[in-house]
């Protein structure tokens, strides 16, 4: 018999009213203050300011309009705002790293502003290309979906995670289109050009 450990609490969908507990003003009332994740990088944070926009589509091509979109990223120098990052003492000023965006109830649009993250150390001292870590919650999603968004104007060829994706043409599902300092993405939950989702 293998050694038994207590099992992780099982996941359930966040449901359609996830905003009540996470972004009450989106739900239509003033509740918890401050609302968390409203500034990934404050105005005093150095680095390149960027705008990101996109949508998450279901299998029919319809945008998911009751989605909660969470971002976790490193600062412009590739440092995470977390005690286990060995360089955290050098984290940029006015930088949080965590963001939350609700999809627009009408068209499903997701929009946020942040600073472009720097490359992050990976395993075995291999550098990872700059990326945003993304966590998706919504009605119909039983276990929150994890993925990454990379930048189309960066050299992503050496990124160890992208290199794992086979067939290689699926790598592009994680790469945002670049237009100056504006980046855009489409995440497809299912079907043709389905986005690569991660288990880690």
């Amino acid at each position: 018999m293998p050694v038994e450990y207590p099992k992780e609490t099982p996941s359930q969908t966040a449901g359609p009213f996830v905003h009540i507990g996470t972004m009450p003003t989106v739900a239509g009332f003033r509740g918890l203050e401050p609302e968390l994740g409203q500034a990934i990088a404050g105005p005093a944070c150095p680095g390149q300011r960027i705008g990101v926009s996109g949508r998450v589509l279901d299998a029919t091509g319809a945008p998911v309009r009751d989605l909660l979109f969470e971002i976790w990223q490193a600062d412009p120098n590739g440092i995470y705002n977390h005690p286990e990052d060995p360089r955290v003492r050098d984290i940029s000023q006015d930088f949080n790293g965590f963001g939350r965006v609700a999809a627009d109830f009408d068209d499903g649009a997701i929009r946020f502003e942040t600073v472009k993250p720097g490359p992050v150390p990976g395993r075995d001292a291999r550098m990872q290309a700059p990326h945003l870590n993304v966590f998706l919650l919504a009605r119909g999603i039983n276990v929150g979906l994890s993925t990454r968004l990379y930048f189309g104007d960066e050299d992503n060829a050496g990124d160890p995670l992208l290199a794992l994706i086979d067939p290689p043409h699926r790598r592009e599902t994680l790469v945002m289109a670049a237009d100056g300092t504006a980046y855009s993405f489409t995440i497809r939950l299912q079907g043709a050009r389905e986005t690569v989702f991660l288990d880690f």
């Binding site: 450990y5 207590p6 099992k7 992780e8 609490t9 099982p10 996941s11 359930q12 969908t13 966040a14 359609p16 009213f17 996830v18 905003h19 009540i20 507990g21 996470t22 009450p24 739900a27 239509g28 009332f29 509740g31 918890l32 968390l36 994740g37 279901d58 299998a59 319809a62 009751d66 976790w72 490193a74 995470y80 705002n81 977390h82 005690p83 286990e84 990052d85 060995p86 949080n96 109830f105 992050v120 150390p121 395993r123 001292a125 990872q128 870590n133 919650l137 119909g140 999603i141 039983n142 276990v143 929150g144 994706i165 939950l189 079907g191 986005t195 690569v196 991660l198 288990d199 880690f200």
Partner: protein, 238 residues
């Protein structure tokens, strides 16, 4: 970098595609998840301090207008530990729920049951050094949803949990002991193993109740633990 987290057992969690819960049909990836080793990106994650919370955030009976909400007064309490039974201190728990009538305070909830003017249904708290937490609220009502012709949700409280890193991020629902809708609820039934659903059912906890004031339910939460072996701790970065 510290030891990585123990891999998630995805046969214990609900599968993505659970057709009896209709919304999952178009919102479930059909291609396999890509398994990746954990880097700093997955081992780190958002952390929150007490300054992030308001003084009444954990008291849903009073935290909307100050006047008490209508319904069955309860405490919900428990401990957050990891798979190695270590307490998870400083975990952020965010909760949301319907009121006693099964109605949510949300612009998109059109259920005919009324709102309670003194109940918002949102709250949050941080776990203490021993992983413990306590919330005060009213017991939510069951409510119907458009799934099968006559689908009703068990009474439940939604929980969102931030542990120490992204790998521990978890969103789930707490149910109540003895709920007769258990076998009918298509979302509760997305769990393949009844033992997993048992883990989400909070038992009545009379010892924690406040006499002449509130009943109590106990909901313990387990997050992923970290590997114990000292090997393979490769240097991170330079």
């Amino acid at each position: 970098m510290s030891a990585p987290y123990i891999p998630r057992d995805r046969r214990w969690h609900p599968p993505a595609h659970t057709p009896d819960y209709k919304t999952s049909v178009t919102r479930s990836p059909r291609l396999p998840l890509l398994s990746v080793e954990q880097s700093l990106s997955e081992i780190t994650g958002p952390t929150f301090g007490h300054t992030a919370l308001g003084p009444r955030d954990a008291d849903l009976i009073h935290n909307f207008t100050g006047a008490p909400a209508i319904g069955e007064r309860i405490l919900v309490h428990g401990r957050v530990t990891d798979e190695n039974l270590r307490p998870v201190a400083g975990a952020l728990l965010e909760v949301w729920q319907a009121n006693a009538a099964g109605r949510y305070r949300h612009v998109n909830d059109g259920y005919l049951a009324p709102l309670d003017p003194n109940f918002s249904g949102c709250g949050r708290c941080l776990t203490g050094a021993d992983g413990s937490y306590t919330l005060r609220t009213i017991k939510p009502g069951a409510y119907p949803f458009r799934n099968h012709g006559n689908s009703w949700r068990m009474a439940h409280i939604h929980f969102s949990i931030f542990g120490a890193g992204l790998a521990q991020r978890l969103v789930t629902q707490m149910y109540f002991e003895g709920d007769p809708l258990r076998d009918q609820d298509p979302i509760a039934q997305t769990l393949p193993d009844p033992a997993a659903l048992d883990r989400l059912v909070a038992p009545l906890d009379l010892n924690a109740s406040i006499p002449l004031d509130s009943l109590a339910y106990r909901f313990d939460i387990t997050l992923r633990g970290r590997r114990q072996t000292p090997f393979e701790n490769r240097p991170e970065g330079a």
